[in-house]
């Protein structure tokens, strides 16, 4: 095809029966295709070979500390919200060997790690997840130090986003202004529509690569009626958010409340297990482990996902800086919602709700913010002094 593909910036309809072509086409173009599939009672992200691998007709019920798969009344392929995995596992893998070294005649020979990154297509990325990827892009690629291996993986990805057709019980992307409609960061975006015996996707490309893929699929320009249907799907989802979070002056709120009694309350419940940070699609912290073999001839350095909930995380000479669970929870939440903004110019939270669902004891970040806001130190101080004037900041 010459010049810009005819499909750029316009909406097209792909019928459900032609949807398999997407998988065949991506495979033909050399992509490893990963997407949602059911495993061990959850919808996880893993290799998918065709639409038959997708969780057709399944959704989930999500609450604090609870996730259960549930049958839908239709055969929707993307009729769920988000599961325990995020795309972070592909772009920022949990275990990466950074280098190896061999002892050779009294000196060390360091071997650089070979970077072999397969071209990968993500199927079904949600708007909150695209925002999460954008957050990690800033962390790994836009700071003073470029993470070259992240860059390599990031550049090898083709993203097929899906606008959410339903919200989970712990979703709050509307509060975070990160969804449910995908607006950028994708090559292709789909909205799944099921109506009166019809099952189709309204598709739009976000990049030229996406447009080229779309052009090769069986599609036709969407009719106004179909475009309206797709818009209704997203609007309906936006009205279904299981959670909300008031983020107005969130930095001011948290910075003024370091000593709020709520931190003791949450610390009594927090297991410091690190689940919230592991499932969070933006949490990026790692540790390095140096290992040697028995003979001492070979050494390796591994990078592994870490968590600010461990004692080792803040260990410096003499001990851990954040030895109490209170200090660790406060650090995590304050970083996620407030200091992240100072550091990266954006919130670290995209409202996906994973930290709420996958916390074994149902600690809810939206509830913690609400509790602090309800008895904000600044307000209670004003109340004490009988000051009814406007906030001086």
């Amino acid at each position: 095809m010459n010049g810009e593909p005819a499909t750029t910036g316009r909406q097209f309809v792909i019928e459900r029966e032609h949807f398999d072509q997407l998988f065949e086409l991506l495979a033909r173009k050399g992509y490893r295709v990963v997407g949602p599939r059911i495993r061990d009672g959850a919808i996880v992200y893993d290799q998918v070979n065709s639409a038959a691998d997708l969780p057709a007709g399944w959704t989930e019920e999500q609450e604090g500390g609870k996730y259960r798969l549930k049958r839908r009344e239709d055969e929707a392929l993307f009729g769920y919200a988000v599961g325990p995995h995020s795309w972070k596992k592909f772009l920022h893998p949990p275990n990466v060997r950074l280098w190896q070294a061999m002892r050779k005649e009294g000196s060390l020979e360091v071997q650089e790690e070979k970077q072999e990154v397969p071209k990968t297509a993500f199927i079904g990325a949600r708007s909150c997840e695209l925002h999460a990827i954008a957050v990690q892009d800033r962390v790994f690629m836009n700071g003073p130090y470029l993470d070259t291996s992240y860059r390599l993986r990031r550049d090898s990805v083709f993203i097929v986003a899906v606008n959410c057709g339903c919200a989970g019980g712990t979703c709050f992307c509307v509060s975070m202004n990160t969804g449910p409609k995908a607006t950028s960061g994708f090559d292709l975006v789909l909205t799944e529509a099921l109506e009166e015996g019809r099952h189709y996707f309204v598709a739009e490309s976000g990049t030229e690569t996406g447009a080229a893929v779309l052009a090769e699929l069986s599609q036709r320009p969407a009719e106004d009626r179909e475009i309206r249907s797709a818009e209704e799907v997203v609007a309906r989802t936006a009205g279904q958010m299981g959670r909300t979070m008031d983020v107005s002056d969130i930095k001011g709120l948290l910075y003024a409340n370091y000593e709020h009694p709520r931190w003791d309350n949450v610390a009594a419940r927090c297991l410091t297990c690190g689940n919230c940070t592991s499932v969070c699609p933006t949490c990026f912290c790692t540790t390095v482990e140096d290992v040697t073999d028995l003979s001492g001839q070979k050494a390796e350095r591994w990078q592994k996902w870490d968590s600010c909930f461990t004692m080792d995380f803040s260990y410096i000479h003499g001990g851990s800086v954040r030895s109490t669970p209170k200090a660790r929870y406060r650090q995590w939440m304050t970083h996620k919602l407030a200091t992240w903004i100072d550091q990266f110019g954006t919130s670290g939270c995209v409202g996906c709700g994973r930290c709420i669902t996958w916390c074994p004891v149902a600690i809810d970040i939206t509830e913690e913010v609400r509790a602090i806001r309800e008895s904000d130190f600044r307000r209670t101080k004003r109340d004490r002094h009988g000051d009814t004037g406007t906030d001086s900041g």
Binding site: R39, G41, P84, A268, C273, L294, M311, V361
Partner: protein, 257 residues
């Protein structure tokens, strides 16, 4: 050629499973034998070399007056002493005796109770002598054992993190059995190291590696109650191989009425 470090393996009240982990090293066994002299390892050889020993691996808990003496001799003969397994680090399953009167068991179990000389409690080695490093697990993990020996041989700190099992479950992409299935799991209060064997097979963690750093057993127990577990069941989940480990002991006692 410099002399190879002398390694000795010692047994107290235990099942031998942890020291057998050393033989289970199979692929690495020859490499290990090349780096150290196995000076005392009854499970592998009757040849016993005299001390002092550079590294002693001690398995088992102290349950008899005789053993309480013997561990001091071993400590004196060892430059570096590492305890291996739940028995040696927490008193083992036999620490269940600590919650009852041991004389009652003896009178029921043995035909001639007067022959039995035992202590009222099963205690970890560290309660008797200074210990340089404790390797957790019931049994210990082979990879962690090799890591500790490699670290010892290379003069570095071993990578045996004290964080939760959850951290490793998530690195491996294992679906949380508690959140997704409602299965009670000790993972959030248990130290990582086993390679998430049970959650990896969709079972709850049994806590074989003992309490993690800063374990919040109280909060987790509250959640077990919400999942429908009865008080006596909560007592039992904390009373297995690491029943004597302080945080697990305290938690089980809090639910015993």
């Amino acid at each position: 050629m410099p002399q190879k470090p002398k390694v000795a393996v010692w047994k107290f009240a235990s099942c031998d499973g942890c020291q057998l982990t050393l033989l289970d090293c199979e692929d690495e066994l020859l490499a290990l034998a090349g780096e150290v002299e196995i000076a005392n390892f009854a499970e592998a050889s009757r040849a016993i070399a005299k001390g002092p020993y550079d590294l002693s691996l001690v398995e088992g808990s102290i349950t008899t007056p005789h053993d309480a003496e013997r561990i001091h001799q071993i400590r004196r003969a060892s430059k570096f002493l590492v305890t291996i397994g739940a028995c040696a680090t927490a008193g083992g399953i036999q620490a269940l005796r600590n919650f009852r009167n041991v004389n009652e068991f003896i009178s029921i179990v043995y035909a001639t109770p007067s022959y039995i000389e035992t202590l009222s409690k099963s205690t970890p080695i560290a309660e008797h002598v200074p210990v340089d490093f404790e390797l957790r697990g019931c049994p210990i993990d082979k990879g962690q054992l090799l890591e500790v020996i490699s670290a010892f041989l290379n003069g570095r700190k071993p990578n045996t993190p004290r964080h939760s099992v959850c951290i490793e479950c998530k690195r491996r992409g294992v679906v949380c059995v508690m959140v997704a299935h409602g299965t009670a799991c000790l993972g959030p209060v248990t130290q990582d190291g086993c390679g998430v064997i049970c959650p990896g097979c969709q079972r709850g963690c049994y806590g074989c590696f003992g309490p993690k750093e800063t374990p919040n057993t109280r909060s987790l127990s509250g959640w077990f109650g919400d999942l429908g577990m009865k008080e006596q069941e909560i007592v039992r989940v904390f009373r297995t191989f690491n029943a004597g480990a302080e945080p697990f002991r305290r938690e089980s006692e809090a639910h015993e009425h």
